[in-house]
Amino acid sequence: MAKGSKRHPLATWRGPERRYDLVAEGTIAVIVVAVLCIAAAILWGSPDAGLTYPKAPRSPAGQAFSAKYWDANNPSDLALTAVNELLGTTTTATYGPPFTQTGHSQEFLGIAPAKIAKSIFGLTLPVNTANDFVLAPVSQIVAPYNPSVAAAIGLYKAAGGDLTPGVPGSQIASAQQQTWLGNYAKALALSSAKVTATSITVRAGNYGPAPVIIEAELLTADNGSLDGYFQGSQQQLRTNTYEATMFFSDGTLWHNIPQAQGVSGSQWGVMNEVWNYPGQVWLWLYAGLYQPPILNPSTNANLDLDVGLLMVLVGFLLPMFAPWIPGITRIPRWIPLYRIIYRRYYTPSAHGRTPPAAASGPPAPPPTP
């Protein structure tokens, strides 16, 4: 770089100055903000509404969605979802990476980042909905103490299907199992079906062992052992409850709650909080990008990828490199708010000189560090 063209890192303002103290200003700012936060915390607290929503049973603060809650409030939804998990037809069973080997991986210009990630890291969160959500917990919790349930599990597994983790949903149930489960799903959907938290009554039909297994599933949900199963493992305690979350989200009740609380995707989703609390307002751009009709939010199978890429482009790169993008840098000139901000400086009488003034005379010698 030629001499004279390089900018020295340090420069000094030669215009009018005034005294201030950086440490004092910072201390006052921290005290003021801390007092504001403490006052707001005492007055309004913070959102921890649990599963409270209009016309719902009372929910204690901080309550999480659980199989027990699901079973108590909508057992038929739980039963039907469990049947569909055995069938391999739920959203989770057909999701694709990182949960199942095949499924719809969202693409942009023919590139599917989820598939690329799978080729590098493998299937990192494999799920077999039939085994992980129904057969394994029932086998572990109920079957050892209930011979009829143990026999039903044995009969069901003898009918085929594939219980390998991550197997595509279409391979989870055999033809025989699909017949049993299809019949049972239809019977559960009839108005004559009676489902309580621990029992299911449907008209007689060819259901194979499905009724015994599903009723056992309800029983484990009712006494809380299904939640214990999801929150633990064979060896360790764990905080990774993705299997439970995926199972719950395959049901209907899971999606009714956020709708009632005003935080569902069509209501700008995650940027909201319950009631009048401010939520993650700073995610307005992310939540807003799910709304424009140009992206066809209701039919676009690649919507999440489109929104994610737009966020990288518009949310991250654009503001970060705004000073180097022609046009963007002209906006403050077109909308000269700085003239209002610096109105006192631009007023000659304010400091006794006519701005903007050029520095006069030779520059001062470089100060010592």
Binding site: A11, R19, G26, C37, A117, T245, G308, P332
Partner: protein
């Protein structure tokens, strides 16, 4: 930095640090170079200044320090919550109070940061060699969003379940979900308390250092009143 310095620069060592500011980098002994770099670029008279240009008179100039104050409140209250564990604040009154202070600290941090960001855009605060100051500021904003996002994911209640279940689709679509499982509260605890917060504090520290080093950007049209401390260097043309 030293690679571009003028070889004819003054060679008298400083009275305190015994460096000239033009020390060449050496892998065998990088300390003198680092000391010279820091002394040259971050002198204490800049870091702890007691004078400011008279045009710094708008209350909008306090948004940066108020955002920093919000961050400090959030970090201190968050540290107390983290000491209690991932979910104790649901049942402990002290924890609940700390959580509420944490919540409002984060809200104020983003409120002040947003105003700070918009204000600096409209005064074109990137002028005069302040490009990296701008970039680190935006990066801090983005890291702040990631930090708050991971905080919402580790609350161990319905809110965090719902947000995680919704957010996983974008993470999975981008391929990130293979290694960043937003439904794992334990991983989010690490991401929130260790990874994103550390990165945020690092970037904010660099941002503050750059702000102090360059000083406040002069009003448009007054750039010529800001002159290089070393007269052998000239101002670049103003964008």
């Amino acid at each position: 930095m030293s690679g571009g310095e003028d070889p004819a620069a003054p060679q008298e060592p400083g009275p305190v640090v015994n460096v000239t500011g033009t020390v060449r980098f050496s892998l065998a002994g990088p300390s003198p170079w680092l000391r010279a770099y820091l002394v040259r670029n971050f002198p204490l008279r800049k870091l702890l200044s007691d004078r400011e240009p008279s045009y710094v008179s708008s209350f909008l100039y306090t948004m940066g320090v108020l955002a920093l104050a919000g961050l400090i409140v959030a970090v201190l209250s968050g540290a107390l919550i983290a000491l209690g564990g991932v979910s104790f604040w649901h049942t402990n009154r002290f924890g609940a109070l700390m959580n509420s202070i944490h919540f409002w600290g984060v809200q104020l941090f983003f409120l002040f940061t947003a105003v700070h960001f918009i204000f600096n855009f409209f005064i074109m605060a990137w002028r005069g060699g302040r490009g990296w100051t701008w970039i680190t500021g935006v990066l801090a904003f983005i890291l702040g969003i990631l930090t708050s996002f991971t905080g919402f994911l580790m609350m161990t209640n319905w809110d965090s379940q719902w947000i995680a279940q919704q957010a996983k689709d974008a993470f999975n679509a981008l391929g990130i979900g293979a290694i960043w499982n937003v439904m794992d509260a334990g991983q989010q605890f690490t991401m929130h308390v260790v990874v994103t917060t550390s990165l945020l504090l690092l970037v904010v520290t660099v941002h503050l250092g750059l702000v102090r080093r360059r000083g406040v950007c002069p009003p448009p049209g007054a750039e010529a009143l800001e002159t290089p401390d070393d007269p052998r260097y000239v101002q670049k043309s103003v964008r």
